[in-house]
């Protein structure tokens, strides 16, 4: 192996929080070999982003840091010397940030931002500037480089913006590229394309890449080696195949067990990690993971002494007193797959729902966005229905229409009354359905106590004061796994996962027939996601709830849903039971989606082929009488432009494509740029 491209020794960072000091990084050391693709994985609070910023010398001034040494290709870099760092940043180490929209200067064109980097680092002379800008944009697979160079960031689609951001980073011809969550703001098909691009750039040998992410599935398709962080420390590092196949650290093992995968068949309960991140302002004694560790919890050695780094069998290193030891059997919930309930009578029936938003209104440019176009679907009593699609697919609008937060323009909504007949309404009546929102810190009024929050729906339906329902609230808190003694706390005092439990308790309080969960776990950390999904599964088993999960996350949908509705551009394009959908999708869009979802298994990812969509056509007109997907569709033909395909198919597996029956033969999936 060649000399390492990046070596970091003993990097420690503390943030000032009031008078306390928060430990963000505690003596982290790592080596990134030349031409290598490495991933840094961790949950929020793990210090992974701090690591990236620290290496760039970009930590906020309010924090204290110390470092043994940082070197790039054998040359020492002094993080304290701002002048010197200016010639390192962008030139030797470049960085790509999470949100390209926010990370590009909004009032400068893409071209001028790239050119500025070229000039500051003296990469090319004035005459060559423009050609180099276009070469860089072409390098990141942008089709019309000279045109795109003249655009402002907000004029590009999300995927294009992230490519432009990568082009800016490549402009200084860096030796190391750090990408901090570069795809988490993107849709799944775009995410896959950007990851493929990063893999290709990182495979050229000239540049080493470091991907910072929370997404273990993404790592499997990208990295050659992986470094796992927890509470500011590197707990495990090693070749990606070894780490995924036989994780040596209990945290890594637990993390891998907590994520659903579309690759595996349904697993039943997800693994989860009890508790939350330790208080990083308190002095550390022993192993930081000990309080949550299924292996070491309570062991004297783990409580008293911090584990040192030892070689892990099979490659890499691990910081654990008992590397590779499996937790006692009882601690791992080896669950039987959740029993699938009998699908009952239709509970909600939507026929031909349509919704068009008028933008701007008076004074602004008037535009129409068709959010829903002729959407029909049925939710059966007792089932768990998933509605999936990318942003702009109309899935959230559908939920909002059902709950009366938006008014539909056309179509009918019918629902089963208590007496058993079907009634019709503009939306589902109050009390029939409740919603669990994506972000619990937004959906819970910060000024109200848990008592008032959870009792609000009861008070609204039955009247009286919230204190009259204290016993019920306490019971609900217990139901969602919270201490009833927390009843007088406010949302700010809870962790993200606990807040979402409160939101669920609130939704349950009036015993609705349907619970609509809009990306209910998307804002949570991986370990909390597993807990919440398990909680919802438990509740479903105990009671007769019907769930509608609105999600962009196919892995999660595969794990928790019985049936899936796939939406694209305001229309339903495919409906099927979950197993059949993943086994034999009948719509090209569904195929593309499924092939884009990363699978947390490096061996699988290495063999995977991908359906490539035409990303740049995403903004073409969508509602003109033809199939809205044809602009991105790899198998579209002439009739797709003129004929809107019907939603039809055998045995309840419906799809809206002219070629539903032959879609598998027509679509030849392509292997992405070599991942090996």
């Amino acid at each position: 192996m060649a000399a390492p491209a990046l070596v970091v020794r003993d990097l420690s960072v503390r943030y000032a929080v009031g008078t306390a000091r928060l430990r963000a990084l505690a003596g982290a050391s790592l080596e990134l070999p030349a031409g290598h693709r490495m991933a840094i994985v961790g949950e929020s609070g793990s210090g992974k982003s701090t690591l990236g910023l620290a290496v760039m010398g970009l930590l906020p001034e309010t924090c204290e840091w110390s470092v043994g040494s940082v070197s790039v290709n054998g040359v020492d870099v002094s993080l304290a010397d701002e002048r010197a760092m200016q010639s390192v940043r962008g030139r030797r180490i470049a960085m790509v940030f999470q949100d390209a929209k926010a990370s590009l200067d909004p009032v400068r064109t893409i071209g001028s931002q790239i050119a500025e980097v070229l000039r500051v680092h003296g990469i090319v002379d004035k005459q060559g500037e423009r050609a180099e800008v276009e070469r860089l944009l072409a390098e990141v697979e942008i089709k019309k480089p000279s045109y795109v160079a003249s655009l402002y960031p907000h004029e590009l689609s999300g995927g294009m913006r992230q490519r432009a951001m990568i082009a800016v980073a490549l402009a200084g011809r860096p030796e190391v590229l750090i990408a901090d969550e570069p795809t988490s703001a993107l849709d799944v098909t775009t995410q896959a394309a950007v990851v493929d691009l990063l893999v290709r750039l990182g495979s050229s040998g000239a540049m080493s890449t470091m991907l910072i992410t929370h997404d273990l599935a993404l790592v499997a398709g990208f990295a050659e080696s992986v470094t796992v962080m927890y509470a500011g420390e590197i707990v495990e590092a090693g070749p990606v195949a070894r780490v995924y196949a036989s994780p040596a650290h209990p945290y890594t093992r637990a993390l891998l067990g907590s994520i659903p995968s579309i690759g595996a068949s349904r697993m039943g309960r997800l693994g989860s990690i009890a508790g939350t991140l330790p208080d990083l302002t308190a002095p550390l004694q022993g192993c930081a993971f000990e309080p949550r560790c299924p292996v070491g919890h309570g062991r004297a050695q783990c409580r008293e002494s911090a584990p040192s780094r030892v070689a892990a069998s099979g490659g890499g290193a691990v910081a654990c007193h008992f590397p590779g030891e499996l937790p006692p059997a009882s601690a791992v919930p080896v669950a039987a797959p959740a029993s699938r309930q009998q699908v009952g009578e239709p509970l909600v029936d939507v026929v031909g729902a349509g919704k068009t938003f008028r933008r701007g209104g008076l004074g602004g440019r008037r535009g129409r966005t068709v959010a829903l176009a002729g959407v029909s679907l049925t939710v059966a009593e007792g089932e768990s229905l998933g509605i999936v699609g990318e942003s702009g697919s109309g899935k959230t609008t559908l939920a909002r229409v059902l709950l009366g937060l938006e008014r539909k323009d056309e179509g009918t909504i019918r629902f089963r009354t208590v007496e058993g007949g079907m009634a019709e309404g503009d939306s589902l009546p109050v009390g029939f359905a409740q919603m669990v929102f994506q972000d619990p810190s937004d959906s819970l009024n910060p000024l109200m106590s848990l008592q008032d929050l959870i009792a609000e729906p009861i008070v609204l339906s039955r009247g009286g004061r919230s204190s009259a329902y204290r016993a019920e609230v306490e019971r609900l808190l217990a139901d969602v796994g919270l201490q009833p003694t927390m009843i007088d706390r406010r949302p700010m005092e809870l962790s993200g996962g606990q807040r979402q439990r409160v939101a669920i308790a609130r939704a349950l309080s009036t015993e609705p027939r349907v619970i609509v969960a809009d990306e209910a776990v998307a804002s949570l950390d991986m370990s909390a996601r597993g807990q919440i999904l398990n909680l919802m599964a438990d509740l479903r088993e105990r009671t007769n709830f019907t769930y509608v999960h609105i999600s962009h996350d196919l892995s999660m949908v595969r794990h928790v849903c019985d049936r899936v509705v796939v939406m694209y551009a305001g229309r339903v394009v495919e409906v099927s039971t979950v197993d059949e959908l993943f086994a034999s999708p009948r719509h090209p869009y569904t195929r593309a989606l499924i092939s884009s979802v990363p699978i947390p298994d490096p061996a699988v990812e290495a063999r995977r082929a991908r359906v490539l969509l035409n990303v740049e056509a995403a903004d073409a007109p969508l509602h003109d009488g033809g199939c809205a997907f044809r602009f991105r569709c790899p198998i579209a033909e002439g009739r797709c432009a003129s004929e809107l395909p019907d939603l039809a198919g055998p045995d309840g597996h419906l799809s809206a494509c002219h070629f539903s029956d032959s879609v598998a033969e027509r679509m030849v999936a392509v292997r992405p740029a070599s991942a090996g």
Binding site: G404, L405, A433, D439, D442, S443, N445, S461
Partner: protein, 287 residues
């Protein structure tokens, strides 16, 4: 405010306390002027236009009245006008604006265009008009100042309403059957209150300045009654003979207006609202 950096740090910790400390003496003056003023407000006690001295800390005015006493006695009217007009503008503007932002639609469009129309009249001109039409009584002043500050307050509160309307907890409450009034009183008002209180302090400060400007133009308290504005007007006539004449009333205006600003700044930090209140001071504060 004019503090050296060392003291500025002390103020930075508790601007509210500093603001209150500046305001309290004036409240005391307003309530019990006779306790603090060495002479009566209309008493001619010495030669005109004396400079500051031990006997007359601020000197005497153009007919020989004690300036300090007049500044103290003027507090009552000036404080009353500023607080009352800010309270009226705040109440009207907040209710109108929050509702407009929350209800939206035609109601919002019409009310905001109305606000536009009123905002297009220069502040002082509008107040000047109203006082000319309705007379120079104190309550007219209060209402006139309140009325010119209401439109911008409404616009500000509307922004708050819009911001809060899309918050998840408002939607969550709607899904559970929360009606407009329930949402307004249970969710919108409590969450908007910190920001609105900051806005109220800006309003009070602006009201002090507008009231003083009107007095300066001869539309406030009528002579011989004292007001800080009309004392400053007198000061201009004698600026070469008694340059320090206007210092007392001028400082009084700035200290009271500054005290309100400080209290607002303290509240802003306390509640950590980052909303920029400059937008509200833009149209009401400048005279």
């Amino acid at each position: 405010m004019t503090a050296a950096p060392g003291r500025a740090r002390a103020l930075r910790i508790t601007p509210t306390v500093a603001g209150l400390a500046l305001l309290v003496p004036f409240v005391a003056f307003a309530l019990f002027p006779a306790l603090f003023a060495p002479y009566g407000p209309y008493e001619i006690v010495n030669t005109p236009l004396l400079g500051p001295s031990a006997g007359h800390l601020l000197g005497t005015d153009e007919i020989g009245r004690d300036l300090l006493s007049r500044v103290v006695f003027a507090s009552r009217n000036d404080l009353l006008v500023s607080i009352m007009s800010a309270a009226v503008a705040f109440t009207l503007g907040t209710v109108f604006g929050l509702l407009s932002g929350y209800i939206g639609g035609i109601f919002d469009t019409v009310s905001m265009r109305t606000v536009d129309v009123f905002l297009s009249f220069p502040t002082i001109v509008m107040a000047l008009f109203l006082i000319t039409v309705f007379g120079r009584e104190t309550w007219v002043q209060i209402l006139a100042i309140a009325l010119v500050m209401t439109p911008s307050t409404a616009r500000f509160a509307r922004g708050e309403g819009l911001l809060l309307r899309s918050r998840g907890y408002v939607e969550a409450s709607k899904v559970s059957g929360g009606g407009r009034l329930h949402i307004l009183f249970r969710h919108l008002l409590p969450n908007a209150m910190p920001t609105l209180l900051v806005a109220a302090s800006v309003l009070a400060s602006a009201a002090v300045l507008i009231a003083a400007s009107l007095s300066y133009l001869g539309l406030g308290a009528q002579p011989p009654a004292a007001s800080w504005g009309n004392m400053l007007r007198s000061a201009y006539g004698v600026v070469y003979d008694a340059p320090l004449f206007g210092i007392g009333p001028g400082i009084a205006i700035s200290v009271v207006a500054g005290a309100y600003v400080l209290i607002g700044e303290g509240l802003r930090r306390r509640f950590r609202t980052d909303r920029n209140t400059a937008s509200i001071s833009r149209s009401v504060g400048r005279v």
